[in-house]
Symmetry: C2
Subunit: 496 residues, 2 copies
């Protein structure tokens, strides 16, 4: 992996200056095309050993680019707001929008590599491999979403690093840069090398390759990075828009046993009589209120997803949940059309930005599952896009539950007949009329396609840690009690 | 102020239930109209004494509203990210967009009132009055920007609060709510009352009134808040769009002494020869680099504003600044058309969200001054809107400098002839051609109107703490050196 970067690459001054003169205008032109088309974000990751010139190179590069469309992220220690969210939150937060170049100095590689270098025993390798898996999937998602991802690793041989650190120490102008930490790292050079070599090998992919730069010669490393960036930018800007591969499985389900499905097996006649409902409602709302005042609740975030047929009663059910807890700790996020800032980022960005702090609940009224439901059925995205969404959603939810976020996902199911009854009722009650639109009638015509999508969704995204709860919602009382009860059970298990 | 709220207001159960039944659907309808039109945000502030039922009332209110369009902000202690920004940043961050209701539990009143209640000596009154002034201006800005601001103060007489706290303590279900802090507050009842009474009196305005609610009876306070909100919502939704008053002064300046202005007095022949430029550039860039590595720099944020004639060389100058400092600590924010999320918030929101953390620099390439420059000249907003912007900008910048943010504002001035020369040059150089548009030629025709706007801007927003620096930019070398030198001086003064 590092062999080429120990050859002693260097560029002489004349070559460097001649090249830089044209390189700058080429970079500016490519950057202008990037900004103008606003079709892709560029991520430039910078990692490597201490003293290999990462900072200087990024500074040179950004001085050649138009700084208005470059965002350099110096991600050091996470802030307390970041610590209260899943690990990747801070990176999602820093993702550049389409048309911009985001430079990541300190990235999702920093802590995994550091931990494995400083850690002991075989478990550190197991942990590293887990992080590597997550990273590979995260970067795949980024590139599937159209991002250009380039990763530069600044390398120095042990000998070169030693020399470099001694040089820095000698010069009074640069002495400040050699902190105690740097010297520690140097002592651990071999370990660090072993860990980063393994990490790089497993995370260098076609869509997000690592490019190892020898860090000895300033001119060489600057030209190397700039040329690679320029080539990649040009190639991507010139590339025709790929249609995406054709998924193996067509979207309509075969009728093998007369369409027995998760949905058809639901007993929609389940009912709760009003007197019992009122008693149970009070009971479970009280229980929920108590749970959210539990001491340990303050260190947990809660994310609740509501999906369901149109008119299945999501709004009313959500209100029964929110009214049970302190309004200060709960937020309902209705998912409608994305804003233009949201459109400029990967699909899941708009959900990541809503992740609650500890001690808070976010309820999504419709959610990231839109991609595998309405977008799939209506053809708003390509089959490949919604097919890959299952995996991305699973990764996303694993991130959340790995952080300790308590999650619940509800599908509120009603029968086709019950829906018709409710549509008609809504049209007649004046102050509910706004709730029913042309679109609702149109969606209704695709009942079977939606049912297929729901069954696939549950089959592919329900897990032991983050299961789907199917809620029989022909009877609103039954539905509300089931939701409250499930939510309490989920919280109880988490806080125990 | 509190007399009416000690009368013992109460509502009986029958009246309450009858009213609530219709109130809910009226509230939902008003809320739907609010959401549908997306013309105004609603801010609902909740303050008052402990035990007066603030939490319960907000919970009741939000259970009647559609929770999807209500954002309840429980603003407790600020996070570290918030502490690194000016005081109002966290409130700007939580402002609801148009069409939503933002409930503020813990607001810009919390700390000023607490501090003045706990503080000692006459200085606490002086400090309180200063905070009050800031608040009045902030709320005026909100309402001028179209927000509906309603403030509810939950009051209990000393006797009633005493009784209330004893009741809460007796009941094992509510005992937890009486913390040590509550009892402290109670001991300071008289002081708290005096401070809040003064605050309320001075901050109750036509556009953002305080409504004092007696907190003894649950039904009374719930109906009170809901009815006031409903009335205010309806009235605002029905109100015709106000044109805004006509400012006293027309926008074109009189020619009293043959148009001698700040701009006409600039000596645009100022020049720096290339050899000296190169020496000075190195010197001041080095100086800037050193200053940004100063120990005390880590506790300061820097905000730099660049405005200037088209083709005055803002981009090139900015690059000379950014290339002098570590790319990790600087961000350039080019101000173009606002995104739809930005349009849904008050004008300054888009700049507030870019405020840097400590140890970071944000450079604005064009800025909040757009309102009093291009928007004024092109008539993109009403004369009243840009007239009031001066005051709002002054408040904004005072907030920043009050927090310790180091600020510099540069106007890069070139002559009309020099601009023509540069436009023509740009059209000829292929890779600069994108920099010149039809709009630039159009703006050029309004040279005098722009000059008037610039002079007014400097006259009204240049202060000892945040002065404008006029930069003679016919010679790019001179301009760059002057900018770097000024920036260093400003930083040096701040870090000394």
């Amino acid at each position: 992996m590092f062999e080429d970067a120990e050859l002693g690459h260097a560029v002489d001054k004349a070559t460097y200056e001649a090249r830089v003169a044209t390189l700058r205008s080429e970079l500016l032109q490519a950057q202008f095309a990037l900004k103008d088309r606003r079709t892709l974000p560029v991520l430039l990751l910078v990692g490597g050993v201490e003293g290999a010139g990462r900072g200087e190179t990024v500074n040179a590069l950004t001085s050649w680019l138009d700084p208005r469309h470059v965002e350099v992220n110096g991600l050091g220690d996470p802030s307390d707001e970041e610590l209260e969210r899943p690990r990747f939150w801070r990176f999602w937060r820093a993702l550049p929008p389409k048309g911009k170049i985001g430079v990541f100095f300190g990235s999702w590689y920093t802590y995994p590599i550091l931990r494995a270098s400083l850690g002991k025993g075989p478990v550190r390798w197991a942990k590293l491999d887990r992080r590597i898996d997550e990273i590979v999937r995260f970067e795949r998602m980024l590139s599937e979403e159209g991002a250009l991802v380039l990763k530069f690793w600044f390398h120095l041989s042990k000998h070169a690093q030693d020399r470099r650190i001694r040089e820095l120490k000698k010069d009074p102008h640069t002495r400040w840069r050699v902190t105690g930490v740097d010297e520690d790292y140097f002592k651990r050079y071999d370990r660090f090398r072993e860990v980063s070599e393994r990490t790089l090998r497993h995370t260098s992919t076609a869509m997000a390759p690592w490019l190892v730069v020898e860090g000895v010669d300033r001119r060489y490393r600057e030209l190397f990075v700039a040329e690679e960036l320029l080539r990649a930018l040009k190639a991507r800007l010139d590339a025709p828009k790929a249609a995406g591969p054709t998924p193996a499985r067509p979207s309509d389900a075969p009728e093998v046993d007369g369409r027995r499905t998760l949905l058809s097996e639901l007993d929609l006649t389940k009912k709760v009589a009003k007197p019992r409902y009122e008693k149970e409602l009070e009971k479970w709302q009280g229980e929920l209120a108590l749970l959210t005042r539990h001491k340990r609740f303050r260190d947990r975030s809660v994310v609740v997803v509501f999906e369901g047929n149109d008119a299945a009663g999501k709004g009313g059910t959500i209100r029964r949940v929110t009214s049970a807890v302190d309004a200060r700790i709960v937020r309902v996020v209705p998912i409608a059309a994305p804003t233009d800032e949201e459109k400029a980022h990967p699909y899941l960005w708009r959900f990541w930005r809503q992740m609650p702090r500890h001690g808070r609940i976010t309820i999504f009224d419709r959610s990231w599952y839109g991609r595998v439901l309405v977008e799939r059925v209506e053809g708003f995205c390509s089959p490949y896009d919604w097919e890959r969404a299952y995996g991305e959603i699973n990764d996303f939810e694993e991130e959340l539950s790995g952080h300790g976020t308590v999650m619940a996902k509800f599908w509120l199911a009603i029968s086709k007949e019950e829906q018709l009854r409710r549509f008609k009722e809504r049209e007649q009650v004046s102050f509910k009329a706004f709730k029913i639109t042309e679109e609702d009638w149109r969606n209704r015509k695709k009942w079977t396609a939606y049912s297929d999508a729901v069954c696939d969704m549950v089959a592919r995204t329900s897990s032991a840690r983050v299961p789907w709860t199917m809620v029989e919602a022909n009877d609103k009382y039954h539905a509300r009690i089931k939701v409250l009860k499930t939510l309490c059970a989920r919280l109880e298990a988490a806080l125990r």
